[in-house]
């Protein structure tokens, strides 16, 4: 039953097992703790305070209330425009 497919079975099992080991390592290392901090790790203070022209007045007010007064974006801040 396994003869024509043993290689693939072993490969798939090996890759799945390696992923389980990586998951365990991440769990023990604490890399999966504190999801809120991980989600925010790519955003620095400047990112959070940049005034975004597409935001509604309410969204802009919320941003200001939460992170402080708005910072003006630089040209090309959103990728691709002058």
């Amino acid at each position: 039953m396994l003869s024509p497919s043993l290689t693939v079975v072993l490969l798939v099992a090996g890759m799945g097992f390696a992923s389980v080991v990586a998951f365990g390592w991440a769990l023990l290392r604490g890399s999966l703790d504190d999801p809120e901090a991980q989600a925010r790790s790519i955003l620095d203070q400047r990112d959070l305070r940049l005034g975004r022209p597409w935001e509604t007045e309410l969204q802009a007010q919320e941003r200001t209330a939460r992170y402080g007064s708005a910072v003006e974006p630089r040209p090309g801040e959103w990728g691709g425009t002058r």
Partner: protein, 478 residues
């Protein structure tokens, strides 16, 4: 935050980008060169369906060589090098440390390109390994790709170790894992010890995982970075993003055998693969819901950010191609679509509408930060976007319909085989026309990139923050 603190933050970002600048730009520039080469091959291959006798006196221009040349130029040239370039810029930003071993990364990019030039040259000369997605010569080309990819991977993984971040953002998981997965599946797929049916199984183990563990994973990593970064809000649910990644890591490798439905493999293997394919609805839904919920209330941002426009379109295409792939794995649907143009449409939703769109968006964001110059024309970006969007939409719709009518004709015992060919002709013509539209879009993009990078172009003058003002894409048009 004071002006000085903002300047410090910007300076810190420039320091992070510095060492990776040259290798990332090398990968981007060569990626776009391969995009143009692959486009020419693709256009020519498409044209052969209307004019089958075209160029038959020159073997290098026959369909059997041009078609794999198109595929390999797009997969290992355009897509892979664009993804490597994005990874070389993204990883230092994600782990807050400059790229380590940038010379190795540079060398890796060069070696990868050398391997690809050799491989495509041999392919056009008639030397192919004869396996789907693995046509490049396993002795004279593939070793270059393994070494080149290994050098870039070493640089990226070394950067990751040097950063020692406590928090590994989900994009890091996707990108770092890709540089481990890819060499494993690529080397395995190229081993010569397999025979017969087993070789077919290993071939599809590779080809399907190249999509899931290389193209998809790096592109998803980029999406998880650019959407929250531009919107200035964290991803909707970080737990969902982890669920998506780990479900992919645990179960995706089982999927490849659904390409061999009806083939001479043990039925339990095919069934297991179909079940695993259906299970993929979990990570796909997790990713789709997460991206959508992050965008909710901010869709007007698409008018301001070309990067976001391309990336969000790519994210939507990811959901579409994944769901389409799940349905195609079901035997009742596979019975009709197998061996038809449907499969070509499906692969273009994946590699073009998803991966390529995400890479276009990434390059619109990253290139100015590496080159120190902005894209000169919002109008050209808009033209590029609409041409490739319309081009790929028409392409996919035409070939999907063409594939279904072809499959139904093939299944009809009353009709001769020729009938299944005849019904596809109008759809193949539409495909060729859409390919022309895509080609114009690619030429505009390449010309625009050249204008950003050419020597002597005026560098961007960064205004003080209190004078800077975003310019909307549609503003210049007005």
């Amino acid at each position: 935050m004071s002006e000085a603190a903002i300047a410090d933050a910007l300076e810190a970002r420039r320091r992070l980008d510095g060492p990776g600048r040259k290798p990332a730009l090398l990968c981007y520039v060569t990626a776009v060169a391969w995009l143009l080469v692959g486009t020419v091959f693709g256009d020519y291959a498409s044209l052969l369906f209307q004019y089958p006798d075209l160029g038959t006196s020159w073997p290098a221009l026959t369909f059997g060589r041009i078609r794999p040349a198109h595929l390999n130029a797009m997969i290992y040239g355009w897509s892979s090098l664009a993804m490597i370039g994005t990874s070389l810029w993204l990883v230092p930003r994600l782990v807050h440390t400059p790229l380590r071993w940038p010379s190795l990364a540079m060398l890796g990019g060069v070696v990868w390109n050398v391997g690809l030039v050799l491989g495509l040259w041999l392919l056009l000369a008639g030397r192919s390994d004869g396996l789907e997605w693995l046509e490049l010569d396993r002795f004279f080309s593939d070793p270059f790709l393994v070494i080149g990819g290994g050098l870039v991977g070493a640089s990226i993984l070394r950067t990751l170790l040097a950063g020692r971040p406590k928090h590994l953002y989900v994009a890091v998981w996707y990108i770092a894992a890709s540089f481990v997965w890819f060499p494993i599946i690529f080397v395995t797929g190229n081993l010569t010890s397999f025979r017969g049916v087993e070789h077919a199984a290993v071939n599809w183990f590779y080809a399907h995982n190249a999509l899931g563990f290389w193209l998809t994973s790096i592109s998803l990593g980029a999406i998880y970075y650019f959407i929250p970064k531009i919107l200035g809000r964290p991803i909707h649910s970080y737990q969902l993003s982890l669920l998506g990644f780990w479900a992919l890591a645990f179960f995706y490798a089982l999927n490849g055998m659904h390409h061999l439905v009806g083939g001479p493999l043990p039925s339990w293997m095919i069934t297991t693969s179909i079940v695993a394919s259906v299970m993929m609805v979990i990570p796909v839904a997790a990713v789709a819901v997460n991206h959508h919920m992050t965008m909710v209330g901010r869709f007007t941002a698409l008018r301001y950010s070309p990067t976001l426009r391309f990336v969000v379109l790519g994210a939507m295409a990811y959901t579409a191609v994944s769901l389409q792939g799940i349905f195609t794995a079901l035997t009742e649907i596979n019975r009709i679509t197998h061996f038809t143009h449907w499969t070509i449409a499906h692969s273009h939703v994946g590699v073009y509408a998803f991966v390529t769109m995400v890479m276009f968006g990434s390059m619109y964001y990253v290139v100015p930060r590496l080159a120190g110059r902005e894209w000169p024309s919002a109008r050209l970006i808009a033209w590029h976007f609409w041409l490739v969007l319309i081009g790929i939409a028409v392409y996919v719709v035409a070939l999907t319909i063409g594939g279904v009518v072809q499959g139904l004709a093939l299944l009809d015992p009353k009709q001769p085989f020729q009938a299944s060919v005849d019904v596809t002709k109008p759809w193949l013509l539409v495909r060729s026309l859409s390919a022309v539209v895509l080609t114009v879009g690619h030429l505009i993009f390449a010309w625009h990139l050249f204008r950003v990078l050419r020597a002597g172009a005026e560098p961007v003058v960064f205004l003080p923050w209190y004078r800077a003002r975003p310019i909307r894409v549609d503003e210049e048009r007005a």
